[in-house]
Symmetry: C2
């Protein structure tokens, strides 16, 4: 049996976050000692690892809840899991595309200003005030 601190050390998930996952229903309520402290089994540790990995990949708590549900029902179709992963991939790609557009604009804005002039002539400020100077939509 593992204490909450041990789980935290092994997975890199902070203690309050573990308790938060429990409250959100991602982790089942573990056994308690006579003094009311949580004691986890290997299964609890594994599940927390699963959650951590999914969170690192950007899955929402809601998505993870659905994935765990599937994990607990091995006979179900994995169509849902595939849909969740694909949707997450689309999401990540959309975010990359948007950030790349922002990068273009920020490079333009930042390179026109060497930081040595005065605010009244600053291209950073001018550029923010006038959207029409932008090259891409955002």
């Amino acid at each position: 049996m593992f204490s909450i601190g041990t789980l935290s050390d092994r997975t890199g998930v902070k203690i309050p976050t573990i308790r938060y996952y429990e409250e959100m229903g991602l982790l089942p309520e573990p056994e308690r000692t006579a003094g009311n402290q949580r004691r986890y089994t290997q299964a609890g540790l594994d599940r927390l690892g699963f959650i951590k990995h999914a969170r690192d990949l950007g899955f929402t708590i809601e998505s993870i809840r659905a994935l765990i549900d599937l994990n607990d029902h091995p006979d179900h179709s994995c169509a849902t899991a595939n849909a969740i992963a694909t949707s997450q991939l689309d999401d990540v790609r959309a975010k990359i595309a948007r950030l790349q557009r922002l990068e273009t604009e920020l490079v333009r804005i930042a390179t026109h200003c060497d930081g040595k002039g005065r605010a009244s002539d600053c291209y950073v400020l001018t550029s923010l005030a006038d959207h029409s100077l932008c090259e891409t939509a955002h």
Copy 2:
């Protein structure tokens, strides 16, 4: 003079958000009608446009506050504006790099699963349970 609804229509910023910006000190408190409704000048409209553009580029409220402060003091050096823009650019680039690593993993995970199998054999689920299958750090 413009009503808050007009400002909203012209800038694309929702009405509650405009009030929120006012509360955060990004927008000065506008004049009011006898019946307590906000009435904005052209300067107010321009400032909201500035804020909107900066938010679209991902600047935080805190950064925008600093940029506005510079805008209001044309004699100050623009070193701060340059630093804020550069830092924002670094931030965007770091986010892109991380998302690209996630994309790699998600492609790997999603393409191994056609959604037609059963949950017990699902690569999405296996992969999330076992971090060692990953190709990159995240």
